[in-house]
């Protein structure tokens, strides 16, 4: 390792070649990961601005800063950007692209050209999606429910095709990861020696490959319905608008796990490293990832308890949804047990991991509440649901992205960031998040439906608190952005292994060389051997 560190000063993946063209045509998984990072950050900024606008409008009842139509558009773009362009590509495409091959001792992903193509697909989809901002916009919500999406006068077709292309991007990433995990593991790297981050990405990839095509055909059918009126979702021709919801959630429920499973993987890494302890129940965590992925295909109906599906279907879907709770609970207990008799260091990545556990616990128990049929009937399509999925998607996934990013920043760029600034960003995000979204649970319990431009006066004070919270979150992310820029420009040189991690990326230089390792590693033990 000393030898590797001595090498680090000359050539690495960042300075191997230079110029914008060398980035746009790169086949290096690390560079593609960085390109995803830059673009996803940009989308996150846009989606975040939309979120702030939404909160500002809802600060008090009645029109505040925009009209109802504008609100519906902003709400739609916020959802579509955050789902299709931020959280779904988020961890797999940024951190996964960068670290999955390194974690298994490979030089690259199985199909580097497809990897680059998937980035271009995301770009093409995103450009197409943003092009609607300059035409008729879109106001259907990110779910595109028929028949509203067929009747509205906005640019649904363009947006839907954009989502289709971004789906292609997701499929290509997933396919690439499965083949990479199957075929490119280094000598001695058995499936039970891969880090849990890789297990999580692997489970995610299976979902991406199996679920996204169904979204593809659903969106194509919606396009057909809008342009040719084929009648499948149109009651006038004997079609069924609710069928669209079945198709849509058959993809979009697994997609929820596409968003959260990689976050769970990141958290497993962070907790093991900063507790300096082998993970508790490796096999259980690995199999619960697969278990969650498997069961997630059979729970889509819990989005439709009040859609008019039969009572029997409702009962069945509620039952299966309960089963998803078990592997999730297993993971929570395993992470916490990992810290038992460990040596817990409160570095900023660990703060984010603990923040994840805190918020995900709340997101998890409210998820169980929503799975209970009569309780969901009351909460369905209210702010309770909004709060729940933000606790999981933002409190879970975004906390993990931030934690993972602070964890791997020294490896990715070879620089250290300011620990104090990073902690500062955590405090703002964590407190701001709870101030924003906890009142929304109460609003939901009080009956405030989601996607509301205006509301009755009873909901006023909690909405105002929520809006103030959104400013705190924004401050936290801005500090985070500054931490990164500051680290990139002024950061001290990072050692190869600043945190004492045991996974393979810490055995190579910071930043890693073009082919990841100077010598192909040979693996003789599991990933978290802190003895």
């Amino acid at each position: 390792m000393a030898n590797a560190a001595a090498h680090g000063s000359d050539k690495n993946y960042l300075n191997e070649t230079s110029g914008i063209w060398s980035w746009l045509t790169t086949l290096d998984h690390k560079r593609i990961g960085i390109m995803y990072f830059v673009t996803v950050m940009f989308f996150f900024l846009l989606g975040g601005i939309m979120a702030l606008l939404i909160r500002l409008e809802l600060m008090s009842p009645g029109p505040t800063i925009m009209t109802a139509d504008t609100y519906n558009q902003v709400m739609t773009y916020h959802g579509a950007i955050m789902v299709f362009m931020v959280i779904i590509p988020g961890i797999p495409a940024i951190l996964g692209n960068f670290f999955l091959p390194i974690h298994i001792g490979a030089k690259d992903v199985a199909f580097p050209k497809l990897n680059l193509l998937s980035w271009y697909c995301l770009m093409a989809g995103a450009l197409l999606a943003f092009s609607t901002l300059f035409t008729h916009k879109i106001d259907t919500g990110w779910t595109f429910y028929t028949p509203y999406s067929i009747k509205t006068g906005t640019s649904v077709v363009t947006m839907v095709i954009a989502a289709f292309i971004m789906g292609m991007s997701s499929i290509l990433t997933g396919l690439n990861f499965i083949a990479t995990v199957h075929k490119l593991r280094a000598p001695g790297m058995t499936m039970y020696r891969i880090p849990l981050f890789v297990w999580a990405l692997y489970s995610t990839a299976i979902l991406q490959v199996l679920a996204t095509p169904v979204l593809g055909i659903t969106l194509l059918l919606l396009t057909m319905e809008r342009t040719f009126g084929v009648g499948i979702f149109d009651p006038a021709l004997g079609g069924d608008p609710v069928l669209f919801q079945h198709f849509f959630w058959f993809y979009s429920h697994p997609a929820v796990y596409i968003m959260i499973l990689p976050a769970m993987g990141v958290v497993s890494e962070l907790i093991a490293t900063f507790s300096r302890k082998t993970i508790f129940g490796y096999t259980a965590i690995a199999y619960s990832s697969l278990g969650i992925a498997g069961v997630s295909f059979f729970v889509w109906g819990h989005h439709m308890f009040v859609s008019g599906q039969s009572t029997t279907a409702g009962v069945l879907f509620s039952f299966i949804t309960m089963l998803v709770g078990v592997p999730t609970a297993i993971k929570m207990f395993n992470w916490i047990s990992t810290m038992y008799k460990g040596s817990v260091q409160m570095q900023s990545p660990m703060l984010f991991a603990l923040g994840f556990l805190f918020l995900f616990a709340i997101g998890g128990v409210t998820g169980i509440m929503l799975a209970v049929l009569p309780v969901d009937v009351h909460f369905h399509d209210t702010y309770f649901v909004v709060a729940h999925f933000h606790y999981v998607m933002v409190g879970g996934t975004l906390m993990a992205i931030m934690g993972g990013f602070y964890y791997w920043f020294p490896k990715m760029f070879g620089k250290m960031y300011s620990e104090a600034l990073a902690r500062f960003s955590f405090v703002f995000i964590f407190i701001g998040f709870n101030v924003t979204f906890f009142p929304q649970f109460v609003l939901g319990a009080m009956g405030m439906p989601r996607r509301y431009f205006d509301y009755i006066p009873a909901y006023h004070s909690l909405n105002t608190i929520s809006t103030v919270g959104s400013w705190l979150i924004a401050t936290g992310f801005l500090i985070g952005l500054y931490t990164i820029i500051n680290g990139l420009t002024k950061g001290a040189k990072a050692p190869a292994n600043p945190w004492g991690g045991k996974t393979l990326e810490w055995t190579t230089t910071s930043p890693p060389p073009h082919f990841n390792f100077d010598v192909e590693p040979v693996i003789t033990a599991g990933p978290y051997e802190y003895r």
């Binding site: 075929k183 319905e225 069924d240």
Partner: protein, 221 residues
């Protein structure tokens, strides 16, 4: 463990740096192609599910729709595609035996079969347009004298399913032309023919989907 990427496999093709051997690369690529085929099948799967749901609800309407299709044309197309699958397989077979000329011939025949398929499809489509059998709300029930008011939905399915399949046939023809070009250029031999194999798998899946589409649309009544 050899990581030598300049091993003596093939004269044009170099094994990419992250693979250990040509065999390793071949198996990995093949897995990738099969994974992609899984997504194709699932995508068409959505259409098949929609078809079966509505066929279940409106069996008579679907029967009426199926009656207006010409099963002879569909059957001819089925034969054409099955034959093209055979020639595609032959193309790979000849490459494995280093008979590039015969392989190129087989691939050319495969493209030709694809073209025949599309021409027949074109005649079927234009004939239906002529009769006013448009999809969904464009189908004028009184004009075509339909018994079922929602016959448009059958043609909605017909055009979506055969249209998406047709796009895949066109894509397949494009891909085969690309490997044909590379075969003629001499890129492939018994050591390296991954691209042809991949395109072949794609073509077989496209044929397979047609083999399900044909009875569902033309025969089930």
């Amino acid at each position: 463990m050899s990581t030598d990427s300049h091993s003596a496999h093939g004269h044009e093709h170099h094994v990419a740096h992250h693979f250990r051997s040509a065999e390793h690369e071949y198996l990995t690529s093949k897995e990738g192609i099969w994974l992609f085929m899984v997504t194709e099948i699932l995508m068409f799967g959505g259409l098949f599910v929609g078809y079966s749901i509505f066929h279940n609800i409106y069996p008579e309407m679907f029967a009426e729709g199926a009656k207006s299709l010409d099963w002879k044309m569909g059957f001819t197309n089925t034969l054409v595609l099955i034959f093209s699958s055979l020639t595609m397989a032959l193309g790979i077979y000849f490459l494995q035996r280093n008979q590039a000329k015969k392989a190129a011939m087989s691939l050319a025949i495969t493209i030709f079969c694809g073209a025949i398929f599309m021409v027949i499809k074109y005649f079927e489509y234009t004939h239906k347009f002529h009769l006013g059998l448009y999809p969904g709300r464009f189908l004028d029930v009184t004009k075509v004298g339909a018994e079922h008011a929602n016959l448009g939905m059958y043609f909605g399915f017909y055009y979506c399913m055969t249209g998406l399949h047709g796009i895949h046939v066109l894509l397949g023809m494009g891909l085969i032309s690309w490997v044909l070009f590379r075969t003629v250029r001499g890129d492939f031999n018994s050591n390296y023919y991954t691209a042809v194999e991949g395109v072949g798998i794609f073509w077989h899946i496209v044929d397979l989907i047609w083999i399900f589409l044909f009875p569902l649309l033309y025969l089930v009544g």
